[in-house]
């Protein structure tokens, strides 16, 4: 929403800095000693049902309140560790996964956590068929067969049967997703309306066993979590965690400086700079699973030339963008897999090289350049990057016309393949390389009526070979070999792909100094707040 108020923000920031020079805020932490208070823009939360939610903010809430079979290993995020699963085995044919649960687990409600609950949670997520269901249905689970394929053989043993011998890393990574959260079957069944599997009730109620419980959620206002004393792991240090919805960065900054919140989560580069010298506030950051890129539509005859694709990769001033436009909120990154996920590489072969780009354009028969449009969402840092590209493209005679639009509007156009160039972002759906490979390097049907509108499809990049390779990678059961295959896919996209990946998003939070042990994770589900203590 704030995109329209950029000018006001500059005014405001200017005034704020002017005042800050003459006055320090009268600081005194006002939040209760047993409560963590965070200022955060969480207007994307639509539902608290793990089977339905697919929003970023909800991920963090569910990550702190629901257990799953396995979780990401935060010391090495390309691996998983058991959460409520004590151990697991994969059958020799690669189709059957058997999970043994830890003993003595209890939900916050007091009900025991059994394999029956795990089976119910998976079955339910498949049957209600909401946005995140595909993470589970891609293993061949359907509403008709899931009762057989995901079931409890005894109270502490859960068995999952998949349809193909997938890479075990792939299946396990998917089971860390929120949609595989374990739900209190007994409690949910008490609140079923008609045939909804408790969906209406779970939208704003809680039925989990995680470190924190959800006490109250008022959309765009407040979300209150409390310690779950039945949690199986290290219990939360504080009694409660309160999220306050604060949309505006400058407002978050005032609240943080004043001590009315302990942590501010959506500080913009301008405010971050201004707060750098504040003595009771420090900053923490973590790279996230979202990459920003621009896509070149292969329906455009100029952009379809391989030399032109390569030339444009040399016509971006990565250095300048990294140093100014995305300072503090991103780091330059060129492969399509974000840092931290299995199979990532850290190659950055491209930098601004106008001479080389000119040579390539000449080879393509476009010595005098050409004109092209770019659909650009009117939010920062996208518009800033677009303007920077406009300048550097012009150096090689490429005339870039920026077509501004609202986010949903440019996306609609992109999904209809009516763009020349589209600049935007892509976040991972689940923490496995297949999530991105399946969209950047897979295009099973390049016709206009195709059902899978992958990013490759949207840019009309017809790649039968790479599609096959992507499919093979998800079935490669030797993890080392699987990693090799993703390295190869990424290099091919870097060399010839119609995607120019610019940077990987970084999340930053401003934290008051009396807060201990606050760390941002690689995903939003691993942004743990229950581990936090107060001095």
């Amino acid at each position: 929403m704030m995109m329209n108020f950029g000018r006001f923000r500059i005014l405001a920031a200017g005034a704020a800095i002017a005042l800050a020079v003459t006055a320090t805020t009268s600081a005194s932490a006002a939040t209760p000693q047993d409560t963590l208070v965070l200022a955060w823009a969480f207007d994307d939360i639509m539902t608290l049902d793990p089977g339905e939610s697919f929003e970023i903010s909800t991920g963090e809430i569910l990550g702190n309140s629901y257990d799953r079979l396995v979780r990401l290993d935060l010391s090495d995020t390309s691996k998983v560790v058991g959460d409520i699963a004590e151990s697991w085995t994969v059958s020799d044919d690669g189709l059957t996964y058997t999970f043994k649960l830890k003993p003595g687990l209890k939900f916050a409600s007091g009900n025991p956590v059994t394999a029956e609950d795990v089976a119910f949670s998976i079955q339910r997520a498949v049957k209600i068929d909401k946005s995140p269901s595909f993470i589970l249905t891609q293993f061949g689970l359907t509403a008709a067969n899931v009762d057989e394929k995901a079931k409890a053989v005894d109270p502490s043993t859960f068995v999952l049967t998949v349809d193909k011998p997938y890479a075990p890393s792939f299946v396990l990574n998917c089971l860390t997703a929120d949609v595989a959260s374990v739900i209190d079957k007994t409690l949910v069944l008490q609140n079923v309306v008609g045939n909804d599997y408790g969906n209406a009730w779970l939208k704003n109620h809680y039925a989990g066993s995680g470190p924190l419980t959800i006490r109250d959620w008022r959309a765009n206002e407040i979300l209150v979590m409390e310690r779950n004393d039945n949690y199986h792991g290290d219990k939360a240090k504080l009694n409660r965690v309160i999220y306050r919805h604060v949309k505006e960065s400058a407002t978050q900054r005032l609240l943080l400086e004043k001590g009315d919140v302990d942590i501010a989560r959506n500080l913009q580069p301008g405010d971050l700079d201004a707060m750098a010298k504040e003595k009771d506030i420090s900053f923490t950051s973590a790279p996230k699973g979202t990459v920003y890129y621009f896509g070149l539509n292969q329906k455009n005859p100029d952009l379809a030339k391989p030399e032109v694709r390569e030339a444009l990769k040399y016509l971006v001033d990565y250095n300048a963008i990294g140093k100014t436009l995305i300072k503090g909120i991103g780091t330059i990154h060129q492969p399509f897999l974000p840092k931290g996920v299995l199979g990532e590489i850290d190659d950055t072969p491209y930098k601004l090289d106008v001479k080389k780009a000119k040579e390539l354009l000449e080879k393509a028969g476009l010595k005098d350049g050409f004109s092209v449009t770019m659909d650009t969402r009117n939010t920062q840092p996208i518009t800033g990057i677009a303007e920077s590209m406009q300048q550097t493209f012009a150096k090689a005679g490429v005339k870039l016309e920026i077509v501004p639009g609202d986010g949903k509007q440019t996306l609609t156009k992109y999904r209809a393949r009516n763009h020349d160039i589209y600049i935007g972002d892509w976040g991972m759906d689940y923490w496995d390389p297949h999530s991105n490979a399946d969209t950047f390097t897979s295009n099973p049907d390049n016709s206009d009526g195709a059902s899978a509108k992958t990013l490759a499809w949207r840019n009309s990049w017809d790649i039968p070979e790479l599609t096959k390779e992507t499919k093979a990678a998800v079935l490669e059961r030797d993890t080392a070999k699987r990693v090799e295959m993703y390295h190869d896919l990424q290099k091919k996209v870097l060399d010839t792909g119609p995607f120019v990946i610019l940077f990987q998003q970084t999340e930053v939070a401003g934290v008051r100094d009396n807060i201990e042990n606050y760390k941002l994770g690689p995903t939003f589900s691993t942004n743990y707040v229950y581990t936090v203590g107060k001095k």
């Binding site: 209760p32 539902t47 595909f134 005032l254 609609t412």
Partner: protein, 353 residues
């Protein structure tokens, strides 16, 4: 009191007169609503945004997209979609908001009190200060006082409210610590204070929670003053020009000639006549605030109607936008009606003869 002497025919005439008035009013209301709905509905459908995208997200498989399209009735012809929508609205069903998953009416019931509480206080502040300032400016026309009022008004009118809000927070909240910060209430009351009506001031009084009340007032005072200042700027300018107009009238000269005190002329005679158009000005400024001022609400993290509608609009959540539009339309119609009624009380000439 003399009703007994009125012939029956006159009574009947009055009754039919009343019926036509009500009838006319209803026709106006209904056409206004229909027009409002039609315009918003068709604008919502022609904007180049796929509403399904907002519901199922960018990643959903084709089958889910097709199902959502079907559920939304987007496969029907546009005019038929409109007919279905209107008939649902007539049954009190505004549909479900895509963004929150709640019925639109439930959402509006939650966000509207927050906006209304703020707008009411803002208008009270604006008119209680704006009207006397305007009168003062008119009376002391061309003097230093007039110029000062003009500058105050111009400043309130031309400075971005967004900037002013942040400055107010910085000075009164962050630096001086006189008021509480953004939001409606401190988090410490989360466990003791329960919203009943959604008007927090009233809720606190009902529950006799005086600590909470103090906190709520401390939170609302800054944004209310800001909105008040904004409307003050407008109200004082309008008051001044209405008053100047009145003060030139012959009855003022006559009153002066009669030897009435100047203050009596200004406040009892001139202002009373100026009050009639002034009521419309104040009502319109109040209605404007009830739409929710997005900027103020954003700066003060006020969970009101403005933020709700803006957010919905940006996500092509058309049910919510239409529902919000109907509410705002109703507010305008109701306020128009109230100011019409106030006219009659204030101005004997407009009473039905």
């Amino acid at each position: 009191m003399v009703a007994f002497d009125v012939p029956r025919s006159t009574v009947r005439l009055r009754a039919t007169g009343l019926a036509t008035t009500i009838g006319k009013f209803l026709v106006i209301v209904i056409t206004t609503y229909l027009g409002l709905l039609a315009v918003t509905f068709f604008i919502g459908r022609v904007i180049p945004i796929d509403p399904v995208l907002a519901i199922v997200g960018d990643r959903a498989p084709a089958s889910t997209i097709a199902r959502a399209r079907q559920e939304l009735g987007l496969n029907e012809p546009l005019c038929w979609q409109f007919v279905i929508y209107v008939s649902k609205v007539l049954h009190g069903d505004f549909g479900t908001s895509v963004l929150t998953g709640n019925p639109v009416l439930t959402d509006i019931r939650r966000v509207f009190p927050a906006t209304m509480e703020l707008a009411t206080l803002g208008t009270l502040i604006g008119s209680m200060i704006g009207v006397p300032l305007g009168v003062l400016a008119a009376v002391k026309r061309g003097t230093f006082i007039d110029q000062t009022v003009r500058v105050i008004g111009l400043f309130g009118y031309s400075v971005p409210i967004f900037w002013l809000g942040l400055m107010a927070l910085l000075v009164f909240y962050a630096r001086l610590g006189w008021t509480a910060g953004p939001g409606r209430i401190d988090v410490v009351y989360e466990y003791t204070f329960t919203p009943i009506t959604g008007f927090y001031i009233i809720d606190a009084i009902i529950q006799r929670q005086w600590d909470a009340l103090r906190d709520i007032l401390s939170h609302i005072i800054l944004p209310a003053c800001l909105l008040g200042y904004f409307s003050l700027a407008y109200i004082s300018r309008m008051t001044r020009s209405f008053m100047l107009n009145e003060l030139e009238q012959e009855y003022v000269v006559a009153a002066r000639a009669k030897g009435l005190s100047e203050s009596r002329i200004i406040w009892r005679h001139a202002l009373r006549n100026a009050a009639v158009p002034l009521v419309t000005v104040i009502a319109l400024s109040y209605a404007g605030m009830l739409e929710g001022s997005v900027l103020t609400e954003t700066v003060f993290s006020w969970p009101g109607l403005g933020q709700y509608i803006t957010n919905s609009l940006q996500n092509a959540d058309m049910n919510a936008v239409l529902g919000g539009t109907v509410v705002i339309g109703s507010v305008f119609i109701a306020l128009n009606l109230i100011s019409d009624l106030l006219y009659r009380t204030l101005d004997p000439r407009t009473r039905a003869r």
